[in-house]
């Protein structure tokens, strides 16, 4: 296997992690799905950690502080596995453990395993033309809560507590200079979540413990480059995600899973392939929510590593 395909694989894993993370809980996402694929029978393992904090949030469209929360911290420890089913079809599994806490007030934080995510990525088209390598891919994802965490405990809750079906289309154009552009559009269908109360108000009263979690649409764009003979990858990334329905957090009220959660975020991503250790890479991501509605103005720092290898069956 040539060096370039190893790199593709490794990079796929890390961004695949982020992809699954994104699928599971869009609002906490940092980096995008990418346009690359692992080879058939290739396995990737990627542990990573995300430190997400905010001290202001948007109550509807009003950006505010809340000293009874102070700074909210969300620490996520994830383990992701990727597998090349074929050269064109890859599968990903991700499982995060999350811990939340607030620096102010007297409310207890939450901790536990969040959602199990599964994703498949398929390459429809890979073609060279006009000096670019064009790649069109599609992903489908599914995630489901695997612990009895309470979604109706925002902003401390571990996640939205809903199953999510998602689909994405990815287009990447890579120039022979190893500068690339990528654009993605995705749709996330969320089912419902179960509160531990059978009445709640979301623009009107609901007499049920079932909360409708709004579907969401996302658009993102990335500009990046592989430098130093593919040993360093740098990427700028912009994500815009909007809920398609939902209510606003009411004045001085707590958020809830029925809210319309919109955000735009910008991130910088770097990934290094140390020459000394075969099959390993380390990566880091810095992201900032720059605008939003009913979400925290999060600053997110992610660090992780990947290890990639072929199963015994296939040797090169």
């Amino acid at each position: 296997m040539n060096i370039s395909s190893i790199m593709h694989c490794r990079r796929t894993i890390a961004t695949g992690c982020a992809l699954v993370c994104l699928l599971a809980s869009g609002v906490y996402a940092q980096t995008p799905a990418d346009a690359l694929l692992m080879k058939g029978k290739e396995i990737c393992i990627a542990p990573f950690y995300t430190h997400d904090t905010w001290n202001k949030y948007w109550e509807g469209s009003l950006l505010r502080e809340n000293q009874n929360i102070g700074q909210l911290t969300r620490n996520t420890y994830s383990l992701m596995l990727g597998y090349g089913i074929t050269d064109r079809l890859n599968a990903f599994v991700n499982l995060p453990y999350i811990r939340t806490s607030a620096s102010g007030g007297q409310m207890k934080g939450a901790k536990g395993i969040q959602d199990l995510s599964l994703a498949l990525k398929y390459s429809f088209l890979l073609r060279e033309s006009m000096g670019f390598q064009w790649n069109i891919l599609g992903t489908v994802g599914y995630s489901v809560p695997v612990s009895s965490y309470l979604s109706d405990y925002m902003p401390f809750s571990l996640g939205l507590g809903t199953s999510e079906y998602s689909g994405r289309m990815i287009l990447e154009a890579r120039h022979k200079t190893n500068i690339y552009f990528r654009g993605t559009t995705g749709y996330m269908h969320r089912t419902t979540t179960r509160a531990e109360r059978d009445y709640y108000y979301a623009d009107k009263g609901y007499y049920t413990d079932i909360m409708d979690v709004p579907d969401a649409l996302s658009i993102d764009a990335a500009l990046g480059a592989f430098l130093f003979d593919h040993r360093l990858q740098l990427e700028c990334y912009y994500l815009h995600q909007n809920s398609l329905s939902g209510d606003d957090i009411r004045r001085q009220n707590a958020p809830q899973p029925t809210n319309r959660m919109n955000f735009q975020s910008a991130s910088l991503y770097a990934r290094v392939y140390p020459e000394l250790i075969k099959g390993w890479s380390i990566f880091a991501n810095y992201g900032q929510v720059i605008n939003g509605r009913n979400v925290g103005r999060s600053t997110m720092v992610t660090a992780g590593m990947t290890y990639q290898f072929f199963t015994k069956k296939q040797t090169l």
């Binding site: 102010g104 007030g105 498949l120 269908h189 009445y199 004045r251």
Partner: protein
């Protein structure tokens, strides 16, 4: 490729499967016939009315009159056009008005946000539309709104029943068999329209309690009046008489409301501080709000001074003092809370959340009105019996609130987060003193009245009240002694209320 296709199919199919998001926004019930019309209902003892005929209505036109015949034709035309509310009001509109009241409580149950300088604004009834909007429908406020609405509805039904059986105008379909009513009220006379009485009273009382909703409430009551004709239940003259009777009765209740002490319940800071100081010099403790920035005044310090419905002397209900924070008894209670928070089970968490009825919800009084509504439907009560359930239950809940607030600000006992170092909770701590627990007091009072009205439900409602009370311990916001004292207090209040109910002539 094959795998991919299968996955795609599963994905698309799953999407369609999970698209059913038609969630209930109100009670759903089957319309029912009133088996027993309670023909003696006009002789029952009203709450505030001096007599059932205190508010006069004109004698109706005879059913053989030309005017009434025209009205019957109008009913047929209205039926042809269809119910403008699409069956929403159902056979017993009082259920919907109770639901509307709960909805408004949830809508207005929001605490003011702090100003940028760390001070807090307060709702101003003279300028309800300026933030923070008036009212802040916290549990005491909601208890009172529901009590006035329900007590007035009950008096309205007694007056309506008096005239119904005085004039004995048969339901429209009994005079003209071409009329097929949507709801068959059997032999219940139709003049005046009980639905219109309920609509007018509810609209008037709720408009006073939720002034920003006047237009909404008007549209609801107008819709109900049209609906009563379009469903073949009432003629226009039934409606006009009912509407006027209801307005007259609402006035009597609103007059009481204007002088019951509520306008002074939210005291200025100086008064609030002196209440706290009085408690401190008497007991050696005082409750303090723990929010940042600190709220200068708790919720409704003088609510305990409100005029009660059925408690002759509030101090006779006041419980004994809570244990001193230095005592062994206190230490035991505090240790219990820490133990529970450190080892909270899923079941305990669920109970805490299930009963939390906190900000943005219909409050514990609303929760018990929901239960009452379910029982009224289950036992197919007619409008006057329904009104009686709501009236006595809500008077008891309101009195329970007054009595509880009397204890809260008399003892001014600190909350667990104030007395237990580094204590963190899963529920937000409310902005008023700890002792006694409002949930416990409200719930015990409501459960006792519901037991009196629906004896077969005793075990169920007692269990609910106990669970509502325990929920505050699991939530970390009340000591066990707050809850136990509250349950006893609520029961005592309810007994005073039931003493009146047994004498009203309905049994």
């Amino acid at each position: 490729m094959k795998i991919y296709r299968i996955i795609a199919v599963i994905f698309v199919f799953g999407t369609f499967l999970s698209c059913d998001k038609d969630l209930p926004t109100g009670i759903r019930y089957d319309n029912y016939t009133f088996d027993n019309p309670d023909s003696k209902g006009g002789t029952w003892k009203p709450v505030l009315l001096a007599s059932a005929d205190q508010i006069a209505i004109p004698q109706p036109e005879d059913i053989s009159s030309a005017a009434y015949k025209t009205e019957l034709e109008n009913i047929k035309n209205a039926i042809k056009e269809g119910d403008p509310a699409n069956g929403y009001w159902g056979s017993n509109p009082i259920l919907r008005w109770n639901e509307i009241a709960r909805e408004l409580a949830a809508k207005y149950n929001l605490t003011p946000a702090p100003n940028a300088d760390g001070t807090y604004p307060a709702p101003n009834p003279a300028q309800p539309g300026v933030y923070p909007y008036f009212p802040f429908a916290h549990p005491p406020y909601t208890a009172r709104a529901l009590a006035y609405m329900s007590a007035a509805q009950f008096d309205g039904m007694i007056a309506a029943w008096h005239y119904k059986y005085k004039y004995n105008r048969p339901a429209p379909h009994l005079t003209d068999s071409a009329i097929r009513p949507l709801y068959d009220h059997g032999s219940l006379p139709s003049y005046p329209s009980d639905g219109a009485v309920i609509g007018a009273i509810s609209r008037e009382i709720l408009s006073a309690m939720f002034p920003l909703e006047k237009e909404y409430l008007k549209s609801k009551s107008e819709e109900l009046k049209k609906s009563l004709v379009a469903s073949g239940v009432n003629a226009e003259s039934d409606i006009i008489a009912g509407d006027s009777l209801g307005r007259g009765i609402a006035k009597i209740f609103l007059k009481r409301a204007s002088t019951d002490g509520m306008s002074k319940a939210q005291t200025p800071k100086a008064v609030s501080d002196s209440i706290a100081n009085a408690a401190f010099s008497k007991f050696g403790w005082q409750w303090t709000n723990m929010e940042t920035p600190q709220r200068p005044v708790g919720i409704a310090p003088f609510y305990g001074k409100l005029k009660t419905w059925n408690i002759p002397d509030i101090t006779t209900i006041r419980p004994l003092p809570p244990p001193h924070p230095n005592s062994e008894e206190f230490k035991k209670a505090a240790d219990e809370l820490v133990q529970i928070q450190n080892n909270l089970t899923h079941e305990q968490r669920k109970i805490a959340n299930w009963w939390s009825d906190g900000l943005g919800t219909y409050t514990p009084p609303g929760h018990w009105n929901r239960f009452a509504t379910d029982f009224i439907v289950k036992y197919k009560l007619n409008p006057i019996r329904s009104a009686r359930v709501y009236a006595y239950m809500n008077m008891a809940i309101h009195d329970a609130g007054i009595s509880c607030w009397d204890a809260k600000y008399y003892y001014h006992y600190p909350r667990p987060i104030q007395l237990i170092d580094q204590f963190k909770t899963i529920l937000g701590t409310p902005n008023f003193p700890s002792y006694t627990s409002g949930h416990s007091t409200f719930s015990a009072a409501a459960a006792a009245v519901l037991t009196y009205m629906f004896p077969a439900e005793k075990n169920q409602v007692d269990q609910w009240a106990k669970e509502a009370s325990d929920s505050r311990i699991y939530g970390g916001i009340h000591f066990r002694f707050d809850c136990e004292a509250g349950l006893l207090q609520g029961k005592k209040v309810a007994d005073l209320c039931i003493n009146e109910a047994v004498k009203d002539g309905a049994d």
